[in-house]
């Protein structure tokens, strides 16, 4: 959304920011990264966070998990509570003191760091410089695995068909759908099936899903039906907000599917021994 944001003098008529050049990536894997779990993963999909850690450690990267992390501030930001979002964002910034890459387990939260912190702190030049630098080294997990780690996955699982759902902000702000597809393509026994209106929103939208339950409900009902009709045995996504929405609706509608975080799917497919993850 605010990739269109323009940082101009207060009264100046705004023009849209020019199109971004394709992102360039570091040529070497970093020794350290910060992992940002996100609040939804923390409480509802902790195994996805752990699988992200396993995947990253397998790449020889030391994962740092600041224990004081909480939420990126997005729920308040998108609900119009800008000051509250700003305070929370500031507290998260304070944790990320090293210039290590920040790897985020959820697309929309990565987008918050990359695209919207600059809006929050547009009036604080020092913090703005800090968030601009942070944005440069913030990655959504699948992007980091693919582009920075240049991960090579060896599929160990049975043949299966999956449908991929990508969160709208991750798709539009970071091309996560393309990254996730490439990762899935590396798995030789996994066939990715398209589903109807694949690029369409699942209806989550944070507080939208509770403020406008009728509209949101119609959207998620279409999404779950499309996923089911695709014929896929499994549903994966790199965004836990969408997963919370889609899985909750699957269960409510008695559809025998359960969306899985891409990190968990990738980790499980590439494990020789089916050990418990922890």
């Amino acid at each position: 959304m605010s990739h269109l944001y323009y940082n101009a003098a207060p009264q100046e008529t705004r023009v849209a920011k020019p199109r971004k050049a394709p992102r360039s990536y570091p040529t070497h894997k970093p020794a350290h990264i910060y992992l940002y779990g996100t609040c939804v993963v923390d409480l509802f999909f902790p195994e996805a966070g752990m699988d992200a850690i396993h995947l990253l450690e397998r790449e020889g990267i030391q994962v740092n998990f600041p224990q004081a992390q909480s939420c990126c501030g997005q729920p308040a930001y998108t609900s119009g509570y800008t000051q509250q979002a700003k305070d929370v964002a500031r507290s998260q910034l304070a944790l990320l003191t090293e210039d290590w890459p920040l790897v985020v387990c959820s697309g929309s939260c990565a987008g918050m760091f990359r695209e919207h912190y600059s809006d929050l702190f547009k009036d604080e030049p020092e913090t703005l410089a800090q968030v601009t630098a942070l944005a440069e080294r913030t990655y959504e997990l699948s992007e980091f695995l693919l582009k920075v780690c240049q991960v090579e996955l060896t599929d160990q699982g049975e043949a299966t068909q999956v449908a991929l759902h990508t969160s709208c902000s991750a798709r539009r702000e970071m091309n996560t759908h393309l990254h996730a597809r490439e990762l899935l393509n590396q798995l030789t026994q996994v066939e990715r099936l398209d589903h109807d209106h694949e690029s369409e929103c699942c209806g989550f939208g944070g507080t939208f899903s509770v403020r406008m339950p009728d509209i949101s409900g119609a959207m998620v009902a279409d999404k779950t039906q499309a996923l089911q009709k695709s014929g896929a045995q499994q549903v994966v996504s790199a965004d836990c907000g969408c997963l919370l929405n889609i899985n909750g609706a699957f269960e409510k509608q008695n559809i025998p599917l359960l969306g899985q975080h891409l990190a968990s799917f990738l980790w499980q497919r590439t494990q020789v021994k089916q050990e418990p993850n922890t």
Partner: protein, 221 residues
């Protein structure tokens, strides 16, 4: 304070301390992607106009009056609104005379108020010139004039337009450079007969204007 003063004052206040942004126009963006060689111009215009239900006939200076006459005969049209004072109007009228044609040529020689009923009910076809053509979009540029008033290309169910190949521009930007200044009271871009897709997106031609558009494209002019 008048509405005018109120609006302008409010807008000016909102812009206080700012400068107008520089003119951002970039001709290459509207020109370069839409350039064609002369032969392509004709084919492209024909292709695009045909795709929207127009008939485009390639013809020559010496042949178009005969072609026009044939087309009207085929359609059993016996009344045609023309502009006798224009070169093309004269040329066609001369042809009809030589042929001793039964076609009745009507002229738009009175203010609309004096013959509105007739124009609406009894004129099955009209024949006009064009100022230019546009290859990129398959478009005719029509400049209504005292000789060929505005409604001539609108009210009759069939509009026939004469277009010289040499007058086809690559794109709207190029065509625009040649438009008269000050702008004429009315200038039209016409890209096919009138149409609508307002019911279920089903395309229907002959909405409120002509149901058919025929272009006589004169290749050697």
């Amino acid at each position: 304070m008048s509405a005018r003063e109120k609006i302008l004052a409010s807008l000016r206040q909102s812009l206080e301390g700012t400068q107008p942004l520089a003119d951002p126009f970039d001709a290459s963006l509207v020109d370069k992607p839409w350039r064609y060689c002369p032969a392509e111009r004709v084919t492209r215009l024909k292709e695009l106009m045909t795709a929207v239900h127009s008939e485009v006939h390639l013809t020559r200076s010496a042949e178009w009056p005969q072609l026009l006459h044939e087309l009207l005969t085929q359609r059993q049209i016996n009344r045609l609104l023309t502009a006798p004072s224009t070169t093309h109007g004269q040329a066609f009228s001369a042809y009809c005379q030589i042929q001793d044609s039964s076609l009745k040529l009507l002229a738009y020689d009175r203010p609309i108020e004096e013959w509105k009923r007739e124009l609406f009910d009894d004129v099955p076809a009209s024949f006009t010139g064009t100022l230019a053509g546009i290859a990129a979009t398959g478009t005719l540029v029509v400049q209504p004039s005292p000789a060929e008033p505005r409604l001539m290309s609108l009210v009759p169910p069939l509009h026939i337009a004469l277009l010289k190949a040499s007058q086809i521009y690559d794109n709207l930007y190029q065509a625009q450079q040649a438009w008269p200044r000050p702008m004429p009271s009315n200038l039209l871009l016409i890209s096919g007969p009138s149409k609508t897709a307002d019911i279920e997106q089903v395309l229907a031609y002959g909405a409120h204007g002509p149901k058919d558009l025929i272009v006589l494209l004169v290749e050697d002019a």
